[in-house]
């Protein structure tokens, strides 16, 4: 068995979640729209799930829309709000470090529907500047979309403060909370968000499931048209087991949040200080403390990430990299270059994302093999990056 440290890519499905989903495959398999007991059983399951999720978000059940992925929720939030508010303006504010689902939805609107997009810069730790945000608001601004916690570097944005600014200027505010579902506060009233995206595949739930919170009164158009399910905002027969699984996963995560955050933070910090103590020339990417309890992102200078991954893989350790060599586009991670770090630093970045299944033994094992791998690759590298120029 390997050591899976790629939980930000996706998590395993919790057995309690699987158990909750089980009846809806072949026993209570009715269509929630059908007018009979089988349909009603399915419909009740969805409505119970909706209430469960609403409770966690401190929202009302009619504000919860189930979708087919984080990507779909984000597309609905951005395109849906843009189209419904187009008569008021055409300006969207987001950041340079969003997930592709946000960046590409914005780019689509820019290229095809006349949108103007402001991409906020982030500082060396990956955090936006609130003054810059406020200054970039114009009379045409209709939407702010800012990622809650970054999927690569784990940096957490000050969502509640952004929420206050959005409210002050009466601008709709969406946050992509896909990476925040297990560890962060999801109370939409505390956060001051109008829309919030979550997905199942990062919270020990089923893949291909998602949710969008839409505050009542928010003007939004559907992007999928048809049978009118999900209050007309997401047509298509509901994925009943998926919805039930998503809700159970979110509940399970949030119930053990405090305890699990504490445990993961300790493991995270042990891994960070362990690597920095035993491997020379490394850089921690992302904020040292305002970061997800499960995220470690470190650049190993002078060497390339895909080569490191292959060595780790041979040791049974599964992680990921922001190196250009492992991306289709042959471009290094835009998240890491957005921090003001040069390409060669992004090339050597490795993300270890921890999860429920990881133990202190796993961390010890990584710490045992890491120095040897780095040493080996450095011995055959012709590059010597000047580390001092990269210090904060």
């Amino acid at each position: 068995m390997g050591i899976y440290l790629d939980n930000s890519a996706t998590t395993y499905v919790d057995s309690r979640v699987r158990k909750e989903m089980e009846p809806f495959f072949s026993k209570d398999y009715g269509n929630p729209s059908s007018f009979h007991d089988m349909g009603l059983a399915a419909k009740n399951a969805i409505e119970d799930s909706r209430k469960k999720v609403a409770g966690i978000l401190n929202a009302s059940p009619k504000e919860i829309i189930f979708t087919g992925s984080g990507t779909e929720s984000i597309n609905l939030a951005i395109k849906g709000v843009y189209r419904a508010n187009r008569s008021r303006g055409n300006h969207i504010i987001t950041t340079r470090t969003e997930h592709h689902a946000v960046l590409d939805s914005c780019r689509y609107l820019e290229e095809n529907e006349g949108a103007k997009i402001t991409y906020l810069d982030v500082d060396r730790d990956g955090i936006i500047n609130l003054d810059n945000l406020e200054k970039s608001i114009t009379k045409d601004t209709i939407l702010i979309s800012i990622i809650y916690a970054n999927n690569e570097i784990g940096t957490i944005q000050p969502i509640a403060e952004i929420g206050k600014i959005a409210k002050k200027h009466s601008i709709v505010f969406h946050t992509d909370a896909c990476q925040a579902g297990c560890s962060q506060d999801l109370n939409v009233k505390n956060l001051g968000v109008d829309l919030l995206t979550l997905n199942g595949s990062k919270i020990y739930g089923p893949k291909g499931t998602g949710m969008l919170f839409i505050k009542s009164g928010t003007k939004i158009h559907p992007i999928i048209h048809g049978g009118g399910q999900e209050f007309g905002l997401r047509s298509g027969t509901e994925n009943v087991p998926g919805i039930v699984g998503f809700a159970k996963a979110l509940e399970t995560c949030q119930l053990s949040k405090e305890e699990e955050n504490k445990r993961l933070t300790e493991l995270r910090d042990k891994l960070i200080s362990g690597i920095q103590g035993s491997v020379p020339k490394t850089i921690l990417n992302g904020h040292p403390t305002k970061r997800l309890p499960n995220n470690v992102n470190i650049s190993f200078l002078d060497i390339e990430g895909e080569a490191i991954l292959l060595h780790l893989n041979r040791e049974g350790i599964y992680a990921s990299t922001g190196s250009a060599c492992s991306s289709e586009s042959l471009e290094p991670s835009y998240v890491i270059t957005s921090l003001g770090l040069p390409h060669e630093v992004a090339h050597g970045s490795i993300r270890f994302s921890l999860g429920r299944q990881n133990t202190e033994n796993d961390i010890d094992h990584v710490l045992m093999v890491m120095p040897g791998i780095v040493k080996k690759l450095r011995m055959i590298s012709p590059v010597r990056v000047n580390e001092d120029e990269l210090r904060r």
Partner: protein, 214 residues
């Protein structure tokens, strides 16, 4: 580079040969001291770390036989880049060493063939190897006073960042590149240095017309 040397577009995992050279690279320095004290007859370096890969090669040449006796290297890049350089270093030193004339005829496709293929999106990783080797041989010609043998840049350099010439682009088109994306998979041209893209596009169109009448 025929169809036999590249695996499918979605193929990611490496051949046994690639893994062998990646995990146990040949002809490398085993300590910093060894690298520092190494006296080569010729040395070459190509690429830039910002672009993703850098290769540096050192050779020793037997002047009597005009064969490469030793070849050491250092590479910054992915597993394909490391394995390609390692394989190249074996190819030029095996069987008593390669004759310089033959070394100059080596092509990236020869390395890929010996590696049992590379995934399609990794073909470009093998290109820098033979450039580094040429640079090292050229350096040897200069250092040993064989000025008549010094190679002049083949063709015209289009992207100095990655040392790609118009002739390299012609070769890539002959090997099947049809678009700028195809070309970048092989040559990395214009990835960092975007200013050269218009010129590169023009050359692709020109060579497609010249060779394929397209």
């Amino acid at each position: 580079m025929g169809g036999d040397v590249q695996t499918g577009e979605n193929e990611w995992f490496y051949s046994e040969e690639v893994k062998e050279h990646f995990f146990s690279p040949k002809n490398i320095f085993t300590s910093e001291e060894e690298a520092k004290n190494y006296t080569a007859d010729g040395e070459g370096m190509v690429g830039s770390p910002a672009c993703g890969d850098v290769m540096r090669m050192w050779i020793k040449v037997d002047p009597k036989t005009d064969r490469i006796r030793e070849c050491k290297w250092r590479t910054f890049g992915c597993a394909s880049a490391l394995a390609s350089t390692s394989m190249l270093s074996v190819m030029v030193t095996e069987n008593g060493g390669i004759k310089i004339v033959d070394a100059l005829r080596l092509k990236p496709g020869d390395i890929i063939k010996r590696l049992g293929g590379l995934p399609a999106r990794k073909i470009h990783c093998s290109v820098l190897g033979d450039k580094a080797l040429r640079a090292a041989i050229n350096d040897y010609f200069k250092k040993s006073g064989q000025f008549s043998r010094v190679l002049h840049a083949e063709g015209k350099i289009i992207d100095p960042e990655v040392n790609v010439s118009d002739e390299d682009i012609e070769h890539a088109v002959l090997e099947g590149a049809r678009t700028i994306e195809d070309l970048q998979k092989r040559l990395k041209v214009g990835i960092h240095n975007k200013d050269v893209l218009p010129k590169v596009k023009e050359l692709i169109a020109y060579y497609r017309k010249k060779h394929f009448g397209e």
